[in-house]
């Protein structure tokens, strides 16, 4: 039986990060993953990440995956794909299905980084073909290039529901509605806003009454619910759809840890059955460490930090680094993790209604309830200022741990400060040169470059545009407001697609002057 210093189960963000840290310290590391491609969820995450430089901010998920994989390979980590771990037995023995047989391995240390599985909710018709998980939709689109359906209703307004809704539209699907039983949008406001301005109606305090169809989904009926989630009579709305997508949370896939005899708990805050761990993922079984979603649902950025912690813990456990080195590194990573866990979406704020930003500004209720900020509300945020000539307008209104825009601007227009969750401030004394870097760097697609008065009764609005076909200069169409309604005629005056923008194209439209602060999306004439 082959024995390794460290066996890692799962080649997702946390598993790969753990492998890198362990291998860096001289450990012999092998990773098993049941998928044909490594990277876990990263490889279907085509959107740019939030955070700071340390958190790989503004880099797209799949690129982060490629970088991690490259680094692991360079360090000599063996990554075995199509390798299903079927059991974690006593003495840290792992059996793995590879090809047509079972292989036995032992690890002196084992890191379990198996991630999570999608939750489902039930309603009549939930077992019909066409009712799918949002993660499944993402896999179909982004890994296999398959369009999940034509007309889709999304259930769930968390970040997954919002991000996947956007991706569905990028893949050419029509998203007919975004539904959530909660009274407020669960995910980042900027994600909601970019979906809403494409014209997707948000139905908060609504749930699916039933999905219709004999052999497959042909329609869905939703209804409104009261504050106790009881359906309110006569509030039904029907949509013709062929797909219903569920983004209703994840459950840790912690079975291996349970099988290995790790002490477990059912912790709703961490998403379900999770191992009891210390701050760095060490379970009750010495040498077995958990990292990533398997130990509590968060997101890829924190999974990577947890993975690194786990890798260093494994190294220290087997004498590949000193206790001092361990503590020093854990301290840095802990601070990193802590900075990710700040802001109004921090784990500690889950379920809380936050009414004011850290700056004391009222949160947009329209954003929480309808997915977009009203024209009245938008003026109160520090990213929205006015001056003559081109200037950035940053519609970032919630405290989230993210700051690439500050670094993107070399001309002193944008300031966040040391506190990563601060709202960005657009300074009127800045000297905007229309470079567009801020627009492309914003993972939330919340930055616009606006010239409120070009002198001919018009204004120009530059917006991020990640759809195909990319409009061309001279194309005519409509300006859409934040709700996705056609509000004025518009003409494309500039299209910028440069490498530095990393596939976030910049579309500049000309609209009548009075729509400078209203038009936020473009729809070409059919």
């Amino acid at each position: 039986m082959k024995r390794y210093d460290l066996v890692i189960v799962g080649a997702g963000p946390s598993g790969l990060s753990a492998a890198i840290e362990a291998a860096k310290r001289g450990m012999e590391v092998i990773i098993f993953d049941e998928n044909e491609k490594p990277g876990g969820q990263l490889f279907k995450q085509i959107h740019k990440f939030f955070g700071s430089k340390e958190h790989h901010a503004k880099i797209r998920g799949f690129k982060i995956g490629q970088e991690l994989l490259k680094e692991a390979n360079e360090l000599g980590v063996e990554v075995v794909l199509n390798a299903t771990v079927i059991g974690l037995y006593d003495d840290k023995e792992i059996t793995v299905k590879i090809g047509d047989g079972i292989n036995h391995y032992k690890g002196d240390a084992v890191i379990v980084a198996t991630g999570a599985a999608e939750n489902m909710v039930t309603f009549p018709g939930w077992t019909l073909p066409g009712v799918i998980g949002a993660g499944a939709a993402q896999t179909m689109m982004n890994l296999h290039g398959i369009k999940p359906g034509n007309k889709v209703l999304m259930l769930g307004s968390g970040n997954v529901g919002l991000v996947v809704s956007f991706q569905l539209m990028q893949a050419g699907c029509e998203v007919v509605a975004l539904v959530d039983a909660a009274p407020r949008v669960g995910g980042y406001g900027v994600h909601a806003a970019k979906v809403a301005r494409c014209g997707v109606p948000f139905y908060l305090s609504h749930t699916i009454k039933e999905v219709e169809g004999d052999e497959f989904v042909t329609g869905v009926t939703i209804n409104q619910v009261d504050s106790s989630f009881i359906p309110i009579p006569d509030t039904e709305k029907h949509f013709d759809v062929d797909t219903v997508c569920m983004a209703v949370g994840l459950s840790p896939m912690s079975q291996l840890l349970k099988m290995a005899g790790c002490e477990m708990e059912d912790n709703p805050k961490r998403g379900g059955q999770v191992p009891i761990i210390d701050d760095y993922g060490r379970t009750s079984v010495p040498g077995i460490i958990a990292a990533g979603d398997v130990s509590g649902i968060e997101e890829a950025s924190s999974a990577m930090i947890e993975g690194r912690m786990a890798g260093i813990c494994a190294a220290e456990y087997l004498g590949y680094c000193t206790k001092e080195e361990l503590e020093e590194n854990l301290k840095i990573l802990e601070d990193d993790l802590e900075s990710l866990r700040q802001g109004m979406f921090a784990p500690k704020n889950r379920g809380k209604l936050i009414e004011k930003t850290e700056e004391g500004i009222d949160i947009s209720t329209n954003l929480l309830e309808k997915g977009y900020i009203s024209e009245k509300e938008i003026e109160r945020y520090p990213g929205v200022t006015h001056k003559v000539g081109i200037h950035p307008v940053i519609e970032c209104t919630q405290n989230i741990p993210c700051n690439p825009c500050q670094d993107a601007c070399k001309k002193g227009c944008i300031s966040i400060g040391a506190n990563i969750t601060n709202l960005p401030i657009v300074k009127t004394e800045g000297n905007c040169i229309n470079c567009g870097m801020c627009v492309a760097s914003c993972s939330g697609q919340a930055i616009f470059l606006v010239d409120e008065d070009t002198g001919d009764g018009s204004s120009t609005v530059t917006m991020p545009y990640e759809f195909i076909p990319l409009p061309e200069v001279g194309d005519k169409g409509f300006g859409l407001n934040r709700k996705g309604e056609k509000i004025c005629e518009a003409e494309v005056v500039s299209v910028r697609a440069v490498k530095a923008f990393d596939h976030t194209n910049l579309l500049t439209i000309k609209v009548p002057k009075e729509y400078a602060m209203k038009a936020r999306f473009f729809k070409a004439l059919a």
Partner: protein, 108 residues
């Protein structure tokens, strides 16, 4: 957990509900009504429910339904889902053909 549970406490009668015929465990085709009825038959733990009805014992081994079943059982008993014991975890973590399971590579 580890608590003494008196299995004769009155949890009230089984009251049929309109969605009782909704499938919960897709692999083994167990309905919501069957699960609720089993609770009234005295099956008060996830393990007993599973053994009585086969829910969560099919191809996906409860990956999809165990959370749903837990919610139904908890509601019927009037407890929090976290009070019910989690499912056991057994090898193989994924279904595996007998010929592959029986083929152990000795030189790995």
């Amino acid at each position: 957990m580890g608590k003494v549970i008196d299995r004769n406490i009155d949890i009230g009668p089984f009251v049929p509900a309109p969605d009782d015929d909704m499938l919960i465990c897709r692999c083994e085709e167990v309905t919501k009504g069957e699960i609720r009825k089993a609770v009234h038959d005295g099956m008060w733990t996830m393990t007993e429910i599973r053994r009585y009805l086969r829910s969560g014992m099919g191809l996906c081994q409860g990956q999809t339904c165990s959370r749903l079943v837990k919610g139904i059982v908890a509601r019927e008993l009037g407890v929090s889902p976290a009070d019910l014991e989690p499912a056991t975890a057994r090898s193989p973590m994924r279904p595996i053909e007998m010929k592959i399971f029986g083929c152990e590579e000795v030189d790995a």
